[in-house]
Symmetry: C2
Subunit: 373 residues, 2 copies
């Protein structure tokens, strides 16, 4: 029993539940913060734990290259390495390898398909993907099996199978090839995991972009395997409307009794849209990145701390907020710290934005329990 639904809303498909892992419970729906290199940028692990953030997303690709899986394993996995007692989810490493090879979607659109850093990915074939470390130039061969093995050594509570991110401008034929291979890779990942589950979960990644037939097929293939949960990956479309359409179509093809994650989405507008569709968790670097740019989230909307109007304001970011930053500092000081490019500005802003997300999700769970969402 790794997921329990406590309540499903009477007015939407939103549900309140809890995911049970070896490192404790994740109340859902919930925001998952991104700690790429085994830390949330500008915060230490204890601060993150104290703030009630229940699930952290770390990137296997980055950890493979620095410090390497062996170092983390020796420290007892990511929990022992970064001294985190709460749950951790890792990705497969595939997304970053392919992103680096093909560039992001936005870059792709600009460059009309020209590859940005062709040298990084040396070979993609049925077995896996061979790429070069940008850190030391060494060659790394990532296969479904090696990715799962790495995530097992990292000690993730939730593992993501290796998938392929096709270039945005790929031909339909290439897309269908990639789609088929991705599902073969996911099945191999699942089988590799099943050999020694070690109390870890593995969540399948639904692909198919904005093509309904492909999304449906992806659900069929992956729900035939006993994944512990499902993540929606790949392209979610060019607009929020496309995303909502795709999710509205896709989610009913997934078993209700398993948690559903949305990969890489977490801006505030999207959060309001995806939770009523039945998304249980979603990871995003938006709140932490926004914080480092001085964009602070509040119930009254976003606050740009660098604006002149904050220069002399002795109000906290949000007078109703209970975070460390709002309890101790006013906008005037934070404005100054950002202007003076002081590192602690990033720390204080990140604390605030993450606290905002924790409280937002608490409120959303409460509203679902009251059938208001």
């Amino acid at each position: 029993m790794t997921f329990e639904i406590l309540h499903t809303s009477k007015i939407s498909k939103a549900r309140v539940g809890k995911i049970i892992t070896s490192h404790g419970v994740i109340e859902t729906p919930n925001f998952v913060a991104v700690g790429t290199n085994g830390t949330i940028k500008a915060l230490d692990s204890q601060m993150v734990t104290n703030m009630g953030l229940q699930l952290l997303f770390c990137n296997t690709y980055h950890l493979l290259l620095q410090p390497g899986v062996a170092v983390v394993e020796k420290a007892g996995g990511l929990h022992g390495f970064m001294k985190r007692s709460l749950p951790i989810i890792t990705d497969s490493g595939g997304f970053q390898v392919f992103s680096l090879a093909f560039g992001s979607v936005a870059e792709e659109l600009k460059s009309a398909g020209k590859k940005k850093s062709e040298g990084m990915v040396l070979k993609i074939d049925e077995e896996g993907v061979l790429f070069r470390s940008y850190r030391d130039g060494s060659k790394i061969f990532l296969t479904p099996e090696s990715s799962v093995e790495a995530q097992k050594k990292l000690g993730a509570d939730i593992i993501i199978p290796l998938d392929e991110l096709p270039p945005y401008h790929a031909s339909l034929e290439n897309l269908r090839d990639s789609f088929a291979r991705t599902h073969r890779w996911e099945e191999r990942s699942f089988r590799a995991h099943q050999k020694e589950p070690k109390g870890q979960q593995i969540w399948g990644v639904i692909h198919g972009g904005v093509e309904k037939d492909l999304r449906k097929k992806s659900c069929e293939i992956l729900t035939a395997l006993a994944f512990d949960g499902y993540a929606v990956g790949g392209s979610v479309g060019k607009s929020k409307e496309e995303m909502v359409q795709m999710l509205s179509f896709t989610l009913p093809h997934l078993p209700k009794e398993k948690p559903r994650h949305l990969l890489g989405i977490g801006d505030l507008v999207s959060v309001q849209k995806i939770v009523p569709l039945g998304i249980d968790t979603f990871d995003s670097s938006y709140p932490t990145k926004a914080a480092r740019h001085g964009l602070l989230l509040t119930k009254m909307g976003s606050l740009k701390i660098l604006k002149k109007e904050n220069e002399s304001s002795l109000q906290p970011i949000d007078p109703t907020c209970h975070c460390w930053t709002c309890q101790h500092y006013h906008r005037s000081y934070l404005h100054h710290l950002f202007k003076a490019k002081e590192l602690v500005a990033f720390t204080l802003a990140t604390i605030h934005n993450l606290h905002y997300m924790v409280e937002l999700m608490q409120e959303m769970r409460q509203k679902i329990l009251w059938d208001q969402i």
Copy 2:
């Protein structure tokens, strides 16, 4: 009564005492951390307070330019602005203005006296120094009176009078002119302060470089005024031996019953040398700068955390250390955070090094009480 000597060593001139300010007591001898822009880099004010660091040094020059004195004053001075409850000392701003004009001593030696950024200081005359803000190009006229006024508005517990930093390659004639003017400026600063002391202290700055007759004369001039303490400024020589010689000569010319500060020195070798000479406080960015370069201070010597040997070490920086960093994290993780250039590396390393200084000074005070220093 702003200074009390509790014990003077039987084997040296070291003494244990306490400086009493409006924001509490500073036990001496003590290290003074540098928080240039109104924060110690990578730490927030509450962390600094919790770590027992009793006196913080802020730079008036930087605060004049960003956020400006009016903003800080509106927040209730630096204490209200940065939410620090413990004592703060500020400098006059003069040192940075002249450093920027003439470059550092090291740069001077290399460039054989050629000025580095001539445009910054527009005019120096008897009245004061006119310089241009590197932030917005505005002209700022710093006089003894305006510097004291700024420091009063900043709410510093200890004020430093405006002095002139002569270029290292100045002719003897220019040096003597500068020396005379510096003392006229200090007297004007003192008079300006005396008009409205506001519970703040002002410490005179002894000049004269490594010239004994000038140091003696400086002591004579400044001890004729009722400064609350004395700081040794200007060039302290090219080596630690020259520094020790200069201090051994100079300090006996200062009244025993007033605190003695050494400006800008705080490396570990110097600390062991200056305390037995009777220095009560000294400010230095060495421990915090070293931290940001991954140089960690321990009782067994300095540790370079980026060294390969720390990659897999599950030991804390120092097993006997009680700081937050050593209580929670091992070298392997810290090594990784530095390698991955994660901001929290600076935070954790700074916490450790400042804690080291706090404990070192506690131990030194104890040893003086036992007549072991």
